[in-house]
Structure formats: C-alpha cells, structure tokens
C-alpha cells in the first residue's frame, strides 16, 4: 500500500477479514468433531419421557450444545403440538456451567 493509500484510507485490509473468517469456521468445525457423543441418546430418552405426556413431533426437536468461553449451554427446542396446547412453542433452556 502506498503512503497516499494509507493517508486516504483507500483500502481495507482484506487479509485480516479472511483470517478471522477462517478462524471462525475452523473453531465451529472443531466443535462438531469434539462435541459430546451422548446427544442422540439424550434426545431419544427425552423424547420418550415427553411423549408420555404430550404429543410431540419427533422431527421438530432440536438439541444443541453451544460453547461460550465460560460455560456450555445445552439447548432443547421442543415444539408441543398436543390438542390442548395449540401450536405453542415452548423453549426449555438448561444452562450448565462447565469449565473446561
């Protein structure tokens, strides 16, 4: 970059943007690889319990683990579609601090 470019701030440093974007996707991909492997089992068992009480659509259930710097958040998203609860979405969030 020439001095004139620098003085006029003509260019944005795109290499830094590239590096940040790559860091984010690599971090996300690593999380998928190292994520807890009990999630499918947990999902199946939760479903079993909940479906004893209300009708739930299995395909709509989402179980995710989000990772912050300080804690992991286990997020369950279970839309209830029983006759007495009309299309009402309930979100149960359980946060658990886990330092690692």
């Amino acid at each position: 970059m020439s001095i004139l470019d620098y003085l006029l701030k003509r260019k944005k440093k795109s290499a830094n943007i590239a590096k940040e974007r790559l860091q984010i996707i690599f971090a996300a991909e690593n999380m998928d690889k190292n994520g807890p492997d009990f999630l499918p089992e947990l999902k199946r068992e939760l479903l079993e319990v909940i479906s004893r009480y209300v009708a739930v659509d299995q395909d709509l259930i989402q179980v995710n683990v989000e990772r912050d710097s300080e804690c992991d958040i286990l997020e369950l998203n279970i839309p209830l579609s029983g006759s007495h609860i009309k299309q009402k979405n309930k979100v149960a969030k359980a946060a658990k601090a886990a330092s690692h």
Binding site: M1, S2, I3, L4, D5, K11, K13, S14, A15, N16, A18, K19, R21, L22, Q23, I25, F26, E29, K33
Partner: protein
Amino acid sequence: MAKVIVVTSGKGGVGKTTTSASIATGLAKRGHKTVVIDFDVGLRNLDLIMGCERRVVYDFVNVLQNEANLKQALIKDKHCDNLFVLPASQTRDKDALTPEGVEKVLNELRENHDFIVCDSPAGIEQGAVMALYFADEAIVVTNPEVSSVRDSDRILGILSAKSKRAAENQEPIKEHLLITRYSPERVSSGEMLSITDIQELLGVKLVGVIPESQTVLQASNSGIPVIHMNDSPSGQAYEDVVARFLGEERPMRFVEPEKKSFLKRLFGT
C-alpha cells in the same frame, strides 16, 4: 525402504501437479531413484507437465488390471536418469483404483525406488483417498486464499483419519505445508494471507513457499518441471523445498517484497 509421499490439497488448481513434478525431479537430481504417479484417473496431466505425453503407452490402470506390467508402463524421464513417471489412464473411471491394486503396485515400486511421489487429484473422493492412503509423508499444497486454506484443513483431517497409518494405529503421516502462488507485495499491503496466518490456521510445519511467478506457466507450456529453471525464483524455491524435505536447513527466500523506490512507495504502482 522406499518412502511414499502424497502431494495433496483438496482444492484444484493450487499447484499439486507442478509440485509433484518438481519435487520428484529434485529428488532424482540428488541421486534418489524416484517414481511419480498420477492418481488423477480420467483427467491425467502429470505427463504434460513432465513433458512425456507422447510416450505414454500403458498407464497406471493397465497395470492395476494386469493388462501391462510396471516395466512397460513406467516412462523414463528425459532429463533425469533416476526418474520415472507412471501416468494415469485418460479413459477409465476413478473406481479403477482399488486399495488392493494400489497397494500391490506401490509394494512392487518400493522394491527398487527410494521415493514414490503420488500426485493426488483434487477433491476428497476415491482417487484422492487412494493417493493418500498408503503415504508416509504428505505435502499439503495451499494458496494464500480462503477456499484453499479451508480445503487444506479438510484434507489434513482426512490424512489423520482415513489413511492406512490411521486405520492401523501407526505413527501418523508426517505433514508438510507448502504455500504456492505467494505474493509478498500483496501480503505487505494487507490483501493476502501471510505465511504466519496460514501456519497459525493450519498448524502444520512449513516446508517451503513458492512465489507467484510467470515462469511456472512457461515451464508447463514447454513440459519442463519448473525446478529445472535454475535462474527463476520459483525454480530455486522448489530446490529449497527438496533440500528441506531431505532434512537440510534452508532460510525461506522470496518471502519479502522487493524494495521499492521512494516515488513508487509514495504513489503506489
């Protein structure tokens, strides 16, 4: 014992074949008996880069399917005595590469070669997996550009998960990072990922940096591996890569921008 080296990248067009040709040539020039194999069945190009396209009679797939023996299929390089090329088939399907067949050919080649360089096709499918499966060492070719770096990360994952060494719980494949098409000027102006950026992102030891250069195209036009171009930076950079690969210490060259005059610096170019 012969060493199997895979030259791989995930992404296409980053310089795998150019690198395979030059590294195999460099190893042979130093007296090591070397064979370079094109694993890109259906899209062969190594023969063109090595300048032996008119001498192809039998190919890798012919050998795998017992239609020819290795001796008939190996093409002796015209510049180096110790170098042989095993071309890919241009007409067959990638599925012709089976683990059993490839292993048999590699074992036969191991008997009387020091190095077997496997030029991988792009992608992460059968051809690419077969090229890396039996490798002892891997050269991951990366351009300073987002999609190439991401694909290199992916291929590094495959190297450590899907190779024979991984399957048999042996010592993992030794990985080397080779950055190609590097432009120090663009790095210093902040518009290209730097060597440090790429190394930090991929976490692999650097074996060399090949600068962006017009010589590479001139070399491929004439079918001469660019390492033969002794007076060009890219040729010399490949020479350094081979030396480092064999354990020599060499400082990185061609990684700093050329000094500009005051006026140029003021107004840009």
